[in-house]
C-alpha cells in the first residue's frame, strides 16, 4: 500500500512542484536524466528530469541514468521520513553522485511542502503550494487506496460509478480528476464531462479544506466550495481521501 502511494501519488507531485516552486526549480537546474524507482516485488515508476521539469510515468522507463531499489514498504516509508539509513539502493548509476544528491534535495523539498512545515506555511506562496500539492496527492492517492485499502474499498463499493473533477479556482493546471469504476486519475482537464465537479473558490478555501481547518459544510452552503452533480460520489471520495492520513503522517 505504501509503495503504491509513494510511487503512484507522492512522486508524481514532483511534476507540479517543479512547475510551481522556484526553490524546487533551482535545485533541479538543467538536469537531464531519468530515474527509475523500483520496489522489490512491487510497483515501479520513472521520473524524467528535463528542461527544468519533471515528468512522471508508471513502470520502468528505458535507459535510466539511475535505478533506485527499495526493499519494501518499511524501507520506502523510512526513506521519505528522512531516516538516513534508509536511502534507496542505487542498483544502477550509483556513481552519479551529483544527480542523486540533487534528487535527494528535491525529495526533501517535496516532503516539506506536502507536510506543510512551519517554514512552508509561513508564506502565502507556501500555503498555495501546500494546498495545490495536497489536492494532487489526495486525488492521485485514490487509485492506490481503491486498490489496496480495505475500508476505502468498502466505501467505494457503495458509491455510484462516475468521474469526479477537483479544481482550485484561479490556479492554473490545478484540476485533478478521478474516475471511480476504471480507477483512473490524472492532472489537467478530465477526459470527459465529469459526473461531479468539486470547485474550491480560492486557494485559501482549498488550503483550509485539505488541512481540515475549515467547516466544509458551511463552505458548501456559502458557495466557497461548489459541488454540482453526483454529490454522493464527491462525499464518498472525500471519505476515501481521509484514509490517507492513516498511511502518510507528517
Amino acid at each position: 500500500m505504501l509503495s503504491r502511494l509513494y510511487l503512484g501519488a507522492v512522486l508524481p507531485c514532483l511534476a507540479d512542484l517543479t512547475e510551481q516552486d522556484g526553490a524546487a526549480r533551482e535545485i533541479l537546474g538543467h538536469l537531464h536524466a531519468s530515474i527509475v524507482f523500483l520496489v522489490l516485488k512491487g510497483p515501479s515508476c520513472t521520473l524524467r528530469l528535463q528542461d527544468g521539469r519533471i515528468a512522471w510515468q508508471p513502470g520502468c522507463g528505458r535507459a535510466p541514468a539511475v535505478i533506485l531499489a527499495i526493499l519494501g514498504a518499511r524501507h520506502l516509508n523510512a526513506f521519505f521520513s528522512g531516516r538516513r539509513w534508509a536511502v534507496p539502493l542505487p542498483i544502477w548509476g550509483g556513481w552519479r553522485v551529483g544527480l542523486l544528491s540533487r534528487f535527494s534535495q528535491l525529495a526533501q523539498r517535496l516532503e516539506e511542502v506536502l507536510d506543510g512545515t512551519p517554514s512552508v506555511l509561513a508564506s502565502a506562496e507556501g500555503r498555495r503550494l501546500h494546498a495545490r500539492l495536497s489536492l494532487i496527492l489526495a486525488v492521485l492517492a485514490l487509485r492506490a487506496l481503491a486498490q489496496g485499502d480495505a475500508p476505502s474499498r468498502e466505501i467505494l463499493a457503495a458509491l455510484p460509478p462516475g468521474l469526479a473533477s477537483f479544481t482550485i479556482r484561479g490556479e492554473l493546471s490545478a484540476t485533478m480528476w478521478f474516475e471511480h469504476g476504471s480507477n483512473r486519475a490524472g492532472r489537467g482537464e478530465p477526459p470527459r464531462c465529469p459526473e461531479v465537479r468539486i470547485v474550491f473558490d480560492d486557494v485559501a478555501t482549498a488550503y483550509g479544506a485539505m488541512r481540515e481547518e475549515i467547516d466544509t459544510m458551511a463552505a458548501l452552503g456559502s458557495g466557497k466550495i461548489q459541488v454540482d452533480g453526483l454529490v454522493p460520489l464527491a462525499d464518498g471520495l472525500n471519505a476515501v481521501m481521509e484514509r490517507l492520513r492513516v498511511y502518510l503522517k507528517p
Partner: protein
C-alpha cells in the same frame, strides 16, 4: 448558472442568516437540512412560517411544499384541530414529573390500529426508536447480529449513520448489509452467521437518497418474513418515513407481511416531535428490560397532537387522499416531461413519491429541474423522496405541473 438562475437574488435573507449561522453553528445548518444536501444557493435555507400545503421562507418566497418538513406534516401545516389539542394539553402540562393520561390513551390507540402489536413506547425521533428496537431484538434473542439493507437510512446513531466521521470499526462490527430485493444476499448472511442473527431491520420499500425508490419485488417480503420466523429472528419494520401515509394499520399491511416490531414517527403527530415503537406480545418482557428514556419523551402535548392526528387520518381516510394526489402529481410530471422529450421515472408509492429523469447519471437535470420549479413556487427536493399531505389540493398539483412544464421547456431550450 448565473446568479439569477441559481436564485441567489431570491434568497438574500437566507444567505445573510446563514452567514451569521456559520459563525456560531457547525455547518451553519447541519444534517439533512444542510444546503449541501440539496442545491446550495438555489433553494431557501431558512423558513419563516407555514400553513396548509404552503410555507414561506425568510425572504417571503412562497412554496407549495412537497417535502412537508421531511415527512412529519401529513395533514398540512398548522392543522387547527391538531394544534388545538396540543395547545390544550400544553396549557394543562408541558413538562412534568410523570407521564400524563394521554400517554396511555395513545398507546391504546396505536395498539388498536396496528394489529400485530400489543404494546407501545415513545420517543422523539426516529433514531430513538430504531436503535432501541435493535437492543430489544438482541435482548430477546440473546444474539449479536443485525442485518440491514445496504444504503437504507435508519437514523444517525453510529450503527447506521450515513456520515463517516467519529466512528469506530467496532460500531458496526455486528451490523451486516444485504441488497434490497435480493433474497440470496440475505440468505448468504444467514448462512454466514447461523444462530447469531438477532434482528433484521428494513423499511417497507427502499428509499435511498440520490436513487429512485424501489418497491419490494414479488415474494421478497415473504422470503424475509419466513426466514425470520424459521430462525427466531426479530423482524423490525422501520416505518418512520412511510408509516400511516400508506395504511393506518402500518405499511406492512400494503405488502402482505407482519413484522415483530414497528418504528413510527413522521406522520404520527403532524409535525409535533414524537416517535413510537410497537411490538408483539412475545417481545414485551425484552422491551421492559431495555432502558428507554429522554428528557422530553413523556411530554404530553405531542401525544395529544398524535391522538388528534390519528383521528383525522382515520376519519378522513387520508392515506387514500394522499395516494390520489400523489398519482396526479407523478402522472402529470411524467406527461409534462414527455411533452418536452424527457423520460421521467416515478418511483415509490404515490403518497411518498419520487420523480426523476431516466437519463441523468450526473443528476444535473434533476437538480436544474428542481431549482427551476422552486423559482416557480413549489419545493421538490432533487435528491430525496417527496411527501404529499392532506392539505394539498388538485389546484396545488395543477399549479405545480404548470411550473414543471415551464422548467422542462426552459431546460429543453438550453439543450440540457
Amino acid at each position: 448558472m448565473s446568479a439569477a438562475q441559481t436564485g441567489r437574488d431570491r434568497y438574500r435573507r437566507s444567505r445573510e442568516l446563514f452567514a451569521r449561522a456559520v459563525e456560531v453553528i457547525p455547518c451553519g445548518i447541519y444534517g439533512h437540512a444542510s444546503p449541501a444536501a440539496a442545491l446550495p444557493g438555489a433553494l431557501p435555507y431558512y423558513a419563516e412560517r407555514a400553513a396548509g400545503s404552503r410555507y414561506w421562507d425568510v425572504d417571503g418566497n412562497e412554496f407549495i411544499d412537497y417535502l412537508c418538513g421531511y415527512g412529519p406534516v401529513v395533514l398540512g401545516h398548522q392543522e387547527p384541530r391538531v394544534e388545538a389539542a396540543a395547545l390544550e394539553q400544553q396549557r394543562a402540562a408541558l413538562c412534568v414529573n410523570h407521564p400524563a393520561r394521554v400517554m396511555v390513551e395513545l398507546a391504546e390507540r396505536l395498539v388498536s390500529l396496528v394489529k400485530f402489536s400489543s404494546w407501545a413506547v415513545f420517543g422523539k425521533n426516529g433514531s430513538d426508536m430504531t436503535t432501541w428496537a435493535l437492543q430489544v431484538a438482541r435482548e430477546h434473542t440473546r444474539r449479536r447480529k443485525i442485518l440491514k439493507v445496504a444504503g437504507a437510512y435508519h437514523g444517525i446513531d453510529p450503527w447506521c449513520t450515513p456520515g463517516h466521521a467519529g466512528l469506530l470499526a467496532e460500531d458496526r462490527a455486528h451490523i451486516h448489509d444485504f441488497t434490497w430485493n435480493d433474497p440470496e444476499s440475505f440468505d448468504r448472511l444467514l448462512a454466514r452467521y447461523p444462530g447469531d442473527v438477532a434482528g433484521v431491520i428494513m423499511t417497507p420499500f427502499h428509499h435511498p437518497s440520490f436513487k429512485p425508490s424501489e418497491m419490494p419485488a414479488r415474494g421478497f417480503w415473504a422470503h424475509i418474513e419466513s426466514a425470520c420466523r424459521r430462525d427466531g429472528i426479530v423482524l423490525i419494520l422501520d416505518d418512520i418515513r412511510a408509516g400511516f401515509r400508506l395504511d393506518l394499520r402500518g405499511s406492512h399491511a400494503c405488502f402482505g407481511f407482519e413484522p415483530d416490531l414497528i418504528c413510527l414517527c413522521k406522520a404520527l403527530a403532524n409535525g409535533h416531535a414524537l416517535s413510537a415503537a410497537l411490538g408483539r406480545k412475545e417481545l414485551h418482557v425484552a422491551a421492559s428490560r431495555v432502558f428507554l428514556t429522554g428528557s422530553y419523551w413523556n411530554s404530553p402535548p405531542a401525544m395529544a397532537a398524535a391522538l388528534a392526528c390519528l383521528e383525522i387520518l382515520e376519519q378522513e381516510n387520508v392515506p387514500a387522499t394522499l395516494r390520489r394526489l400523489g398519482e396526479m402529481l407523478t402522472s402529470g410530471l411524467i406527461e409534462a416531461g414527455a411533452r418536452h422529450g424527457y423520460a421521467m421515472l416515478a418511483s415509490g408509492p404515490p403518497a411518498v413519491p419520487f420523480v426523476s429523469f431516466v437519463e441523468d447519471p450526473s443528476w444535473r437535470r434533476q437538480q436544474r429541474f428542481c431549482a427551476e420549479v422552486a423559482r416557480g413556487g413549489a419545493f421538490l427536493h432533487p435528491h430525496h423522496n417527496w411527501f404529499l399531505c392532506a392539505a394539498h389540493t388538485p389546484d396545488d398539483i395543477a399549479a405545480t405541473l404548470r411550473m414543471a412544464d415551464q422548467a422542462f421547456a426552459l431546460m429543453r431550450s438550453e439543450g440540457l
